[in-house]
Amino acid sequence: MAKSLRMSPQTLLVLERFVEQPRVWRYGYDLSRETGLKSGTLYPILMRLAKFHLLETRWVTMTDGVPPRHTYRLTPSGAELARSQQSATRSVAGVRRIALFGGKA
């Protein structure tokens, strides 16, 4: 199922944020600020990740009449995919570096 998910640079950016603290629940606005993605770009990515069960969601009730907030964190399969994507990206970057500069991956 995860094979059908398009790994755009923006999706990788979001996954990277989650991988840093895989067990922590994150808010949409915080992710937007950290990745620099606008709401119109970020939320479709979150929706797709949740649709493929790579992300779990929950509502957090707030006090003082502030509306509840939606929070997100990676599922175990999401964390696995995010890590594999991260290492694949690194290896691709390494291959490129070797090809260009003759260094080690």
Partner: protein, 554 residues
């Protein structure tokens, strides 16, 4: 964070509005964006946040309309987009209502005539003259048959005037005059339209006998001689090369006390026959007011002959024969005034010159008062000519209401055809996909429904526009046919003349794009579109199945 600022309130409103449209599976995400809105620092940042979220929700809503079955689990409270949901039902009812309203429009005779008028722009694209129709007019054909059966001279004369086939027109006119010699004037109208045919000489003599004071038969004769000269490549380069036959015809025209183009008789004939045979066709009562009803070479012929007379008068004046010179100049003045509205303005310069010569002749004779009068008349002729020339240019520049109404009628006609095609394609695709003609089985997909709805709304809207733009001219037509009141007939003629120009050629969109060039671009576009459709068909039915078969084998 001030929750009460205008931008923040607008942001909240925008998101809530977008959530109300969102499909079931995205409502939760809409609320997520809304929940975060309260955390966004800065009012304008909050508005940008809301715009981003709202655009995402609306995109999903649009996708849900176009592809209703595509993976949109629905919330129980919001069943807007499911099969039989509010939007779908509204679209189906709306499409049906628009089609029914359009069909009701078709019951109105005025609307049917308006549709007929809006189609007049197509013949030029099929290399038919803009003043012709595509093929024979069935109503005119039926009228001809009835007229021959009943031996109705007036109806035959009517058919002769409106038939767009020269030999048939000539034959019908001869038969009409044979049945009713009082209709000999029809020769004048038909000969002005065609000018060059074997019977024209006989016709001009018959016209001269019928109406001896009229300049028209002489002008027709002069036109025939001119055309003959052009066909034999003997076009005169100066006055000395003009043929004596042509000079004789023009001299007779200049000596004639009147010029009658039989417009009044033609109007009466049109009215009588349309009433008698119950025909409601505005094209059959319009007269070409833009081009008068004189032979096409009249202005050129008259100017050439007037210059010849002025030159001859000058040489006689130099020889001392003032009386003869005076007669020459007076003839030019008299004939130009006879022409009047029938194409007189191109002769304004000749008229001015004639008055000036008459003025100088009066000075030579010591009559200063008369010289002043001629000088005044020369100036008046000059300014009147300029004014009339400006009026004609304005007509051709199309700045009138009739032009805008014609533009609206032509645009509505094109929109009607396009929407009709879209609706037909929708029905065909629906029947082909469902393989059934039963109404219950015809469940349209979201895409088909969207196209049908757009087609039906466009059809209804363009029908209303067409009806509104044509209605005043329908009234002019009816008033003329039933009461003989010809007020507005010139407007009707201009309107109909403009409706014969294809939308995009001349006038509004491409002021300087000729009909011929437009026809070329039109057919290039059609050919391009056909190639595109062919490529799509090849890709869909030949290449893809092969690729699929190859994948299966692989």
């Amino acid at each position: 964070m001030s929750s009460g600022s205008f931008a923040r309130r607008l942001a909240t409103f925008l998101l809530e509005w977008a959530i109300s449209f969102a499909p079931g599976d995205t409502i939760e995400w809409g609320n997520a964006v809304l929940g975060e809105l309260h955390q966004v620092d800065g009012d304008w940042s909050a508005l940008l946040w809301a715009i981003g979220g709202a655009s995402m929700l609306l995109k999903h809503a649009l996708v849900a309309i176009v592809f209703p079955g595509r993976n949109h689990p629905l919330s129980t409270s919001r069943n807007l987009f499911r099969q039989g949901g509010i939007v779908r039902k509204t679209a189906i009812y709306g499409t049906t209502a628009c089609i029914v309203a359009f069909l009701l429009f078709l019951f109105a005779p005025v609307f049917r005539v308006a549709v007929h008028v809006s189609l007049a722009q197509w013949p030029p694209l099929f290399h038919v003259s803009p003043f012709d129709r595509l093929g024979p007019d069935p109503r005119l054909e039926a009228l001809k048959r009835k007229a021959i059966q009943k031996r109705d001279g007036e109806a035959l004369a009517f058919a002769a005037v409106h038939t767009r086939d020269q030999s048939e027109s000539v034959q019908l006119a001869e038969e009409a005059v044979r049945l009713n010699p009082g209709l000999t004037w029809v020769y004048g109208v038909v000969a002005v339209d065609w000018s060059f045919f074997p019977q024209v000489e006989r016709w001009t003599s018959a016209l001269q006998t019928f109406d001896p004071e009229n300049a028209l038969p002489h002008l027709i004769a002069a036109e025939r001689i001119d055309i003959e000269q052009i066909e034999n490549r003997k076009t005169p380069r100066n006055a000395s090369e003009e043929s004596s036959e042509w000079k004789k015809a023009m001299a007779a025209a200049f000596q004639s006390p009147k010029l009658d183009t039989y417009s009044k008789q033609l109007e009466d004939l049109n009215r009588t026959v349309l009433l008698r045979y119950q025909i409601n066709d505005p094209f059959l009562i319009s007269t070409d007011h833009l081009w008068y009803r004189v032979p096409s070479y009249t202005a050129a012929d008259s100017s050439r002959y007037a210059e010849l007379l002025l030159e001859d008068g000058k040489s006689r004046e130099d020889q001392g024969d003032r009386r003869s010179a005076f007669e020459h100049y007076s003839t030019v003045v008299r004939f130009t005034q006879t022409l009047g509205e029938n194409g007189g303005f191109p002769m304004a310069r000749c008229l001015r010159d004639a008055f000036q010569r008459l003025g100088s002749l009066s000075v030579k004779e010591g009559n200063s008062q008369q010289a002043e009068l001629y000088s005044f008349l020369a100036n008046t002729a000059d300014s009147a000519g300029k004014e009339e020339s400006f009026a004609v240019r304005t007509q051709l520049d199309s700045r009138e209401v009739s032009h805008w109404n014609a533009l609206l009628a032509r645009a509505s006609g094109v929109a009607l055809l396009l929407s009709g095609t879209v609706l037909l394609l929708c029905v065909v695709s629906l029947v082909v996909r469902r393989r059934s003609l039963r109404l219950a089985a015809l469940q349209p997909s979201g895409m088909t429904l969207a196209f049908s709805f757009a087609g039906a709304v466009t059809a209804l809207f363009s029908s209303i526009l067409l009806y509104i733009s044509y209605r005043p001219y329908a009234e002019i037509t009816q008033r003329f046919i039933h009461t003989g009141d010809n007020t507005g007939l010139a407007d009707l003629s201009r309107f109909l003349a403009f409706t014969r120009i294809p939308l995009g050629a001349g006038g509004f969109f491409g002021k300087y794009l000729s009909v011929e060039r437009f026809a070329f671009y039109f057919w290039c576009s059609v050919a391009g579109l056909c190639v595109l459709v062919l490529m799509l068909c090849i890709s869909r039915f030949l290449i893809r199945p092969n690729a699929r078969a190859a994948n299966k084998v692989g």
